[in-house]
């Protein structure tokens, strides 16, 4: 295949892509024409963008996405205004990253804790069974530790859930507050407080969970819990 053959094929693909780009344009006229003209020489770059824009599903976003959208819209509401220092771009981006990270962690935790091997109830039943069977404290210790870990994971899930929910409410309020301030041309007295509240929740999402008070070993078997190497 020569370079000329290749160019002819490229041109033919360009013409076809141009037709597709024109057809996929949501409105006719200048923008559709520009889209078609761009597709003619640049179809390997332009066509995927046109098709992915068209194929984007219109679905209700997940709660975390609503929060993220609200934060971003709150930022966009203040861009270029005197209120921008309240929620600058870098701060908004950091908030979005933290919310995304926490939402992902929350989703993983929900999936994980739905499994039987991560069920607190199953872990409690196992301890009861071991106790009924007269197992030693050494045998019980791993089961107790497992239960403690599962409870900590459940606490983490509950805390993230609550914080994300509060954050969602705050982000929505912040957005309306800043949009109102933008269109009313006034200084929002409460917006600064809401931004601080949002930051506080974001910090909570980024923090680690405090350890639970450890489960006390049965004193009757205290000697059994010594390290095996010690005797």
């Amino acid at each position: 295949m020569t370079l000329s053959d290749l160019l002819v094929l490229y041109g033919a693909a360009g013409v076809a892509s141009s037709a597709v780009a024109y057809k996929k344009s949501s409105e006719r006229g200048r923008s559709a024409l520009v889209s078609a003209l761009l597709a003619l020489p640049l179809w390997p770059l332009w066509l995927p963008v046109v098709l992915s824009a068209h194929a984007r599903p219109i679905t209700r976003p997940a709660p975390s996405d609503t929060t993220r959208a609200a934060i971003w819209e709150a930022h966009e509401a203040v861009v270029g205004s005197a209120l921008e220092p309240l929620l600058p771009r870098e701060a908004a981006l950091r908030m979005l990253q933290e919310v995304e990270r926490a939402s992902e962690r929350h989703r993983e935790l929900v999936q994980l804790l739905a499994q039987r091997s991560f069920s607190a109830q199953a872990a409690e039943q196992r301890i009861e069974q071991l106790t009924r069977d007269g197992s030693s404290a050494r045998s019980l210790a791993p089961a107790r530790l497992h239960l403690e870990n599962v409870r900590r994971l459940e606490n983490l899930r509950s805390r993230d859930e609550q914080t994300l929910s509060e954050l969602g409410e705050l982000a929505t309020t912040l957005r309306t507050q800043l949009v109102l301030a933008r269109y009313a041309g006034s200084t929002p007295h409460d917006a600064g407080d809401i931004v601080s509240e949002v930051w506080a929740r974001v910090e909570v999402l980024g923090s680690t969970l405090d350890p639970l008070p450890s489960i006390q070993p049965d004193p009757r078997h205290a000697s059994d819990q010594a390290h095996p190497a010690s005797g």
């Binding site: 520009v34 640049l42 390997p44 332009w46 995927p48 963008v49 992915s52 979005l96």
Partner: protein, 234 residues
């Protein structure tokens, strides 16, 4: 429309993270891509024209056209591979998103080249010579490439996986870009040449030129024609 265009250009320069966020949020990327194409044409085109000022004449127009063309040809060839690499290594980014990300990175690099253009023009005007001009342009491309990396890193993630994807993409981009630019040369134009060709005759590949330059660097000069004769026996 103009305000939106300038806002996107401003975003490309000031906040690669915001561009990456647009792509992650799967927004409509058409305004971003149009702005990136315009930035690429303006930045790389101006820089190409500036590089040709030493030769002047029709070379100005040729270089202004060929430098953006070299970038676009490289992207057309590489972006599907970038998308496949990113998907294969576990990043949830579609072909449209990768086009947006790569074009944004190229546009940022072009705007950096545009910023270098006045200084480069001044230096070339002082008559630094052909070889130093080539070296100077390579340094400018290096800085522009680093600024483009920031956009790519923001889009692909700043973790180990993102770095792996970036390295694989670089392994595809560097030889493809080098060969594309090699085929579209000259960009600067030798002052001694009587006429200015739009494209030079095919004299082997970029790899052949590197091989030949390796000999030249140790004082063993061989003409392209002779190398071609030696290798093909013609």
């Amino acid at each position: 429309m103009n305000a939106q265009l300038f806002s996107v250009l401003d975003e490309l320069l000031r906040s690669p993270e915001a561009v990456a966020e647009r792509i992650r949020r799967r927004e409509d990327l058409r305004p971003l891509v149009v702005a990136a194409l315009l930035a690429l044409g303006l930045g790389a085109g101006t820089f190409g024209a500036v590089l040709a000022t030493a030769r002047g004449g029709v070379q100005l127009g040729y270089s202004a056209l060929k430098l953006p063309l070299a970038v676009l040809v490289t992207l057309c060839l590489c972006v599907p591979a970038f998308a496949a690499i990113a998907r294969g290594l576990g990043r949830n980014i579609d072909l449209g998103g990768m086009v947006g990300l790569s074009l944004s990175a190229a546009a940022r690099a072009s705007l950096v080249l545009l910023a270098f253009a006045p200084a480069v023009w001044f230096v070339l005007d002082r008559g630094i010579g052909y070889h130093y001009s080539v070296l100077l342009s390579a340094v400018c491309y290096g800085f522009a490439g680093i600024s483009a990396l920031r956009v790519m890193a923001a889009g692909l993630g700043r973790d180990g996986r993102g770095l792996g994807i970036l390295l694989c993409c670089a392994a595809v981009l560097l030889p493809t870009g080098a060969q594309s630019a090699w085929m579209l040369r000259p960009f600067i134009g030798r002052p001694a040449q009587a006429s200015v060709p739009f494209l030079r005759h095919k004299e082997g590949s970029f790899a052949d030129a590197v091989y030949q330059s390796a000999f030249s660097s140790v004082g063993r000069y061989r003409s392209s024609a002779r190398v071609f004769e030696e290798e093909t026996g013609e």
